[in-house]
Subunit: 458 residues, 2 copies
Amino acid sequence: MSGAERRVVVVGADGAGMSAAHQALRTAARHGERLAVTVLDRGHHTSYSACGIPYWMSGDVPTQQDLVARTAAEHREAGIDLRLGVEVVGADLAARTVTTADGDELGYDELVVATGAPAVVPDWAVRPDGTAYDGVGVVKTLDDGAAWVERFAAAGAGAHVVVVGAGYVGVEVAEAALARGFGVTVLTRTRGMSMLEEELSDRVNAALVDAGVELVLGAEVTGLEVDGDRVSGVRWEGGRGDADLVVVAIGVRPATDFLAGNGLELSEGGALRPDPHGRVADHVWAAGDCCEVRRRIDDQWVFRPLGTHAAKMGRALGDSLAGGGLTFDGMVDTSITRFSAGDVHVEIARTGLSRADAAAAGHDAVALVTEGTTATGYMPEAEPIAIWVMADRVTRRLLGVQVVGGHGAGKRIDTSAAVLWAGGSVDDLAWMDLAYAPPFATTWEVLQIAARRVAERL
Amino acid sequence: MSGAERRVVVVGADGAGMSAAHQALRTAARHGERLAVTVLDRGHHTSYSACGIPYWMSGDVPTQQDLVARTAAEHREAGIDLRLGVEVVGADLAARTVTTADGDELGYDELVVATGAPAVVPDWAVRPDGTAYDGVGVVKTLDDGAAWVERFAAAGAGAHVVVVGAGYVGVEVAEAALARGFGVTVLTRTRGMSMLEEELSDRVNAALVDAGVELVLGAEVTGLEVDGDRVSGVRWEGGRGDADLVVVAIGVRPATDFLAGNGLELSEGGALRPDPHGRVADHVWAAGDCCEVRRRIDDQWVFRPLGTHAAKMGRALGDSLAGGGLTFDGMVDTSITRFSAGDVHVEIARTGLSRADAAAAGHDAVALVTEGTTATGYMPEAEPIAIWVMADRVTRRLLGVQVVGGHGAGKRIDTSAAVLWAGGSVDDLAWMDLAYAPPFATTWEVLQIAARRVAERL
């Protein structure tokens, strides 16, 4: 097909986009097709680990370069026409063109949307001209990370960091700020860690407080206090606090504005909903944080901008675009993080439905928290773990599992995710053959005790 | 039914037997039945963790009492007639009686065989009168453990321990002896850790050697050298070594001799094969290490004397005996241990079939080892991990997974066990929704990379 190479234009050079680009080239090569793959990104970095930025801020990760999985040069060597600093501002799906901020028009045969989801910046965080006050920022891009590493280095001993948001990023940034020796306040509109049921989010809150964090629940931020160009405090309904630095970690939003006017169906939040091959329309594909993902358990589309989904979606898309058969068959809403500071270490993980999800799906659900240990009680490795398990009373199907506990607690969630993936029952989880030896588990693995207790109540 | 209480006689007061006894009482109470439960054991201990003995030997577990999950007094308080020091030497299943070493006869309505599996003691380990030489012993009962703790305490600095056998117990005892500062030789007839494929057992062998163990593969022990009553050396075909202490860890054998002459079907190795409720014949039940267990993947009976199977079997048996419906639906051949000494730490786990098992079952199997890290490469938590994955070329079904790696590697086996339990494919493992955050995994979880690589070769 030389002379008639299909032109693939990928918008967005992060995980999903680059994964799609490479996989498309590999699959095409296998099929004897040559593709002309162009990747455009408005930023100047590619294939970096956004999830690693809090650990760069904390000092766990020494340099920015450590977070870059593959450099621009490496992508180009693989035959990708990578163009950084090029912002795509419009698309004409009928004409099969995209338009850049410089007014250039680029034709394509296949368009891959992998624009990700920039951090939400609330009005109160910026000056009237839209720029952030000194000392205020989000945690999303490598440039954000570099700015935070610089701000942390410049801040004197005794500096106080206010983190707005107690989701995964908020908790990870609190860990980073404590590791740097700063005072830390975490503000959240909600009860904190609201992706967990209250019985477990309470335990995370307690861990934050144990580690010296000032945690303010139900705090709706109303504005900043500034001293010249610099932030000096944060105000919220019913309170205020001093702040040398303010980290805004209240979420992200899909970058799909450039597709407006093309009649593409978007979710209420602006996300695309690709089919398992990554297709959203004829010759238009999408993967990564600009998309919602299908939750297999209740067949709902949800917005879960996670690197692991992005990588899988990108791979399935790239393969499918080039004639392969790989599919991304949804997820079961698994996620994990930790909060670790001094003697305090909690691993936090969830998979499946929440109580609210289950109610919305019409399940008669039974849920219970069980406490146990990560290793046999007599071993020095044993740490406390609390496990929330939910199952359907009628079908006995496992619906959701959440975990908060010490070292070794978090990755236990994968076992439950595997049961959910297969549509298994709470009895499957309770009786299956999980590994036991004293340094690793109790004779009845704690996950299985938790499942058994729920099974007995159905 | 007072006045006509069913008489349940349980032979063996360890995990399986006591679990059966308690569950039978609970289920019977729920059904309004009263049972008269008598438990006989030739030993003087009950409900202890045999798996914990190596960690008592090492010093990780401070006292014998720590290993006892429930005391005799606690069992008796729950209404169990527990008789220790009573050895059952015969049974008449037609007459429904058992005979003790003292010549007493005990009638039963339901007999539960939970006699476990004593350690195999080879001829070369004992004097002509059958008693062990000083400094020589097995690692199975609490009394064995107490003897080893005493021997370790009495042995001077520079003492040398020879461990015969490089299975789980052998490796765990080697760890214990190193922790006590002894020189350690491990002898094995096989290639070492033969429950692993060679690509992975080699890594365990390397770890043993790194930690200073003298490892002799293919060593068939021919006899001991003795100095008076004490052992002073071990001879094997083609070699010998000095020994102050010799740990014999070459396996265990079901204790079912007392059932001889009753026409019960036993495996070649002397094990019982109970149905999922624990029944082996009318009014005869069995659970724990005296039984084989059914491996679901290939529907084979195999001898896997593990505490976790014993606990599950005991519970299903007790419930079924008392009219409940719980079943033990087999296993997928999961097991785990570790070897940890100084800077050397390897976690060792397996689930599913071996190459030999797969060949015997007629699978056209594809297997591959993949190396990766337990956390994202830039994190201080990242440790190396090697994963062996095997799948069927035709059906794509996952057949087996084995793991050797650093902290956090071992319990990853549970995810694969869950896939095997559900009869899932290697693609399920590769694409399912496992937890990712930098301290816990790579963006593509290493298990999934390993599965994907196999999937691509089918």
